[in-house]
């Protein structure tokens, strides 16, 4: 007789779980399980709360949206650790307890409808809860808050009603809006100029390092001029792709002066790894000064460039005139 011959005498009974467990055994087993479950739950909580940000959780600490994402991640992590420990625990227990031994007979169980329905619903409930938590935190992550009262006051007010579904603005419409442009392999940032009514060509541009004021909501319009890139400063929130022909959006708000680094996160070519980005937060007053200085620098170098160009043009003109004269002279030569 092989083991499988035991339980299959009656074909119709094969679909039901035999109720052969003695009561005492099932009670101890239940106790073992509730203990294991409690241990898993506690372990999960301890791991998730005590985990160093370095090992188990995403980078955060620069901006409220990054912190909210970090919190959301930790909630998912707790649920994940509990499920992980539970399933691996039962798996390990089965492997040890039910390894083939002399005289051991495998139970010919073919399924259990109640159990199937139970764990399907259980899994669904967990996911409904996770979705609920995500929705409750979505506003804080997606929509920028107003700047602090002592933040930098931008001269430009955006029309809140015109903000699209993925380009929200703060409730009062006031944020420092910086255009981020990805190009192989550098980021360019365009600020509104220091004076309120300056035309388009009065804007201030910077590369690689974005200088921003603290206590101020910074909104970013992210674009690309060549291939797809992705804007990402981990401590300041998630990444947002710069796709040609599209404008993407994100925001951040930094409380204390500091430097935050990041880099392009979407493959953009051979030097993708070197397409660094950096955000330096300084006080609103210092930022005001920086903007004016930067503007002066740009104006001066523009003037220099203009002078140089004119000088070059004049030189070129003279050269062509010389060449023409020479050519004419050559023609006339005998």
């Amino acid at each position: 007789m092989t083991p499988e011959e035991g339980g299959v005498a009656d074909g119709r009974r094969m679909n039901r779980m035999p109720r052969a467990l003695p009561k005492a055994r099932s009670r101890t087993r239940r106790r073992v399980f509730s203990f294991a479950f409690a241990a898993a739950l506690l372990g999960g909580l301890a791991l998730a709360t005590g985990a160093s940000a370095d090992l188990l959780t995403p980078t955060s600490g620069g901006s409220p949206n990054a912190n909210d994402i970090d919190t959301l991640y930790k909630i998912v992590l707790v649920v994940a650790v509990v499920i992980f420990v539970g399933v691996e625990g039962v798996l390990l227990y089965s492997l040890v307890k039910f390894r083939a031994r002399k005289d051991a007979v495998a139970a010919q169980i073919r399924g259990n409808t109640r159990l199937e329905v139970g764990w399907t619903i259980g899994a669904a409930v967990i996911l409904v809860v996770l979705a609920g938590v995500t929705f409750s935190m979505l506003g804080g992550i997606r929509t920028p808050p107003n700047s602090d009262a002592d933040g930098y006051v931008t001269p430009v007010v955006t029309n809140v009603k015109n903000a699209s579904a993925f380009q929200p603005r703060p409730p009062n419409g006031r944020s420092l809006n910086i255009k981020v442009n990805g190009q192989r392999y550098v980021w360019r940032y365009t600020y509104p100029g220091p004076k309120p009514t300056t035309p388009e060509n009065q804007k201030v541009a910077a590369y690689v390092e974005m200088v921003v004021p603290t206590k101020t909501t910074i909104t970013l319009d992210i674009e690309s001029q060549d291939v797809a890139h992705s804007w990402w400063i981990p401590a300041l929130g998630g990444k947002f792709d710069a796709v040609p022909a599209h404008t993407n959006f994100t925001w951040f708000k930094i409380e204390k002066p500091g430097v935050y680094r990041g880099q392009c996160a979407e493959l953009c070519g051979r030097n993708h790894a070197d397409m660094d980005a950096q955000v330096r937060a300084i006080s609103p007053a210092a930022f005001k000064q920086w903007l004016v200085t930067k503007k002066q620098e740009i104006d001066e170098s523009d003037q220099d460039a203009l002078k140089r160009r004119m000088a070059d043009a004049a030189a070129a003109k003279a050269q062509t005139a010389d060449a023409a004269n020479n050519a004419a002279g050559a023609d006339k030569a005998p």
Binding site: D68, S94, A106, G238, K239
Partner: protein, 567 residues
């Protein structure tokens, strides 16, 4: 066996089969074969060769990343390597290796003598090989550097003027036609050529997953074939489907690619689920727990797999409602996947588990695939994914699903079916060592990559700065990758050695459940002379039981071809 006392008029089941003519030999017979088993072997050998190539590419990348600011590889070589690695593993290994197992075992498992269209079957294989050769020929000029996803506009003629991308497009077309023909063949075979009595409720679970694999391929492949054709005309004939300056849109490429790309993920993992569902009950000596639930979960996963593609695009400009839809649909897919895992664990519960190599690989699969499944839920929560996408966290996740999932399942299948394909057992000792090395190496390589991603390292970078512990973490990962490679190498050696020196297997060495074990090992050209009637989902169990009842003897089957199976 000679003194059989029959107590009824029912014939005692025995293997009745003989070779009609001597099997043809020589390489010409392999080139011209239309036998599903030989085509299956061709598939398996070819895909394992590509697996080795993809593995070497991975090791080269890990060497480059072993230290910060390393200069072992140039940026262009590195980009070419991850493009080759991803494309090879997906299009030339995991998808076609499943077709290899399917080719060999689908007809045997359903009691058929060959596939529905044997010549088409041969064509499928040769197109696959042609695709691989065309792709690797690009090494002789300029290999593609745009990743296996070939995002526009990086893959456009302006940014990738050399022929590498064209070789990639050619590969997608050739392997695509190959898989499409194969899928139609699988579908036709399963629908029409099942043994008498094998209704849909008695189909082996591996065959169920092959059926769904075939349907998903038929639905998804035309989309990528169309997309790469548009890319080809953009590159060479002046169209602008993905060029915004001509009214096209680079995002269109991403949508089309992932509309294929996500079902592709399930194309790669579902047959692996099938292998696990075959192996577990055999070695737990217990029927599969929840046959109907597992089969239904497979179908539900396939349906949902068509509805989740944009979760690969959470950081593109998208309205919140779109992100929410794809979060929910991705959540939903976790439910049937969880149901499968619970059913597998329940299959082991109260069994008598025999720790043979196929079982060990299957259990290893469950334990690591679970991690890949759980990190998938992290990625589905789109605000969290804004931090995780395109980082090493995603690299870790996809390798937990594709290596911890598909590759471990493929190795379980290899150890399980090797005796049937060659007539010889693989070495258990080497198998267990191989598993130990692979399991440790795999987790050392990829577990730490979650942290590398959380610390802010994007994927597809050829170098990284020496910040925090990035150097140490990457070194750990690199060391793990070599342990993993050693484990894989051990199985390759094991397979090659066992082909000559393995213990003879006999027809049914594992006392398994399905019909492929009701013939000689390896099976003759026509598989079965007499096809048995199927009366349950475990026909071999019925047959062994009937033999035992009618002969009063053990569980032996017919005249033993080798001394080993006669005890």
């Amino acid at each position: 066996m000679a003194t059989v006392t029959t107590d009824s008029a029912v014939r005692i089941p025995e293997i009745i089969v003989h070779s009609v003519q001597p099997e043809p030999r020589g390489w010409v017979s392999w080139v011209t074969t239309t036998d599903h088993k030989r085509i299956g072997i061709l598939y398996l050998v070819t895909t394992f060769v590509f697996f080795m190539l993809g593995g070497v590419e991975a090791l080269l990348m890990r060497v480059q990343l072993g230290a910060p600011n390393n200069t072992f590889l140039t940026p262009s070589t590195y980009n070419a390597l991850f493009t080759l690695h991803g494309t090879t593993m997906i299009f030339l290994f995991v998808v076609p290796v499943m077709a290899g197992f399917g080719n060999y075992f689908l007809p045997l498992m359903i009691g058929a003598r060959d596939m529905a269209f044997p010549k088409l079957n041969a064509l499928s294989y040769w197109l696959l090989l042609a695709g691989g050769i065309v792709f690797y020929a690009s090494l002789l000029f300029h290999p593609p550097e745009a990743g296996w996803t070939s995002y526009a506009p990086l893959s456009s003629s302006a940014y990738a003027p050399t022929g590498g991308i064209d070789a990639w497009i050619f590969l997608i077309h050739l392997t695509g036609i190959s898989s499409l023909l194969g899928a139609i063949n699988f579908y036709a075979t399963i629908a029409n050529m099942r043994a008498p009595g094998m209704g849909w409720g008695r189909l082996p679970l591996f065959v169920w997953t092959l059926l769904v694999y075939a349907i998903l391929l038929i639905l998804a492949l035309p989309v990528i074939a169309g997309a790469v054709t548009l890319l080809l005309t953009d590159r060479h004939f002046g169209t602008g489907f993905f060029d915004q300056s001509q009214g096209g849109d680079p995002l269109l490429w991403q949508h089309l690619f992932w509309f294929f790309g996500h079902p592709e993920v399930y194309i790669m993992i579902l047959p692996g689920f099938g292998i696990i569902s075959e192996v577990l009950p055999v070695f737990a000596r217990k029927p599969i727990f929840g046959y109907k639930a597992i089969a239904a979960a497979t179908v539900v996963i396939a349906f949902l797999a068509m509805l989740v593609w944009a979760h690969h695009m959470v950081s593109t400009p998208s309205a919140t409602i779109v992100l929410v839809f794809f979060m929910i649909s991705s959540f939903l897919i976790a439910i049937p996947t969880g149901v499968k895992i619970f059913n597998w664990v329940a299959t082991l519960w109260r069994g008598t588990i025999e720790f043979k190599t196929p079982l060990i690989f299957s259990v290893g699969f469950i334990s690591v695939f679970l991690i890949g499944g759980i990190t998938g839920v992290f990625l589905a929560v789109f605000p969290v994914d804004w931090q995780l996408t395109d980082t090493y966290f995603v690299v870790a996740h996809l390798h937990y699903v594709l290596v911890g999932g598909s590759v471990f399942a493929i190795f379980a299948g290899l150890y399980y079916w090797f005796p049937k394909m060659t007539g010889r057992m693989m070495s258990e000792t080497m198998g267990k060592w191989s598993f130990a090395l692979m399991y440790v190496g795999f987790n050392v390589t990829f577990l730490i990559q979650h942290t590398i991603g959380l610390d802010g390292m994007p994927r597809r970078v050829y170098e990284y700065p020496d910040i925090g512990h990035l150097g140490l973490y990457n070194l750990i990962s690199t060391i793990g990758s070599f342990i993993l490679a050693a484990g894989i190498g051990m199985t390759v050696i094991n397979a090659v050695r066992s082909m000559k020196h393995g213990v003879a297997a006999g027809p049914d060495p594992w006392k398994a459940n399905t019909l492929e074990w009701f013939t000689q090992s390896p099976p003759p050209v026509n598989n079965f002379d007499v096809i048995p009637r199927v009366r349950s989902v475990e026909p071999m169990k019925d047959i062994r039981r009937q033999v035992a009842r009618q002969t009063g003897s053990g569980v032996d089957l017919g005249p033993a071809p080798t001394p080993e199976s006669a005890h």
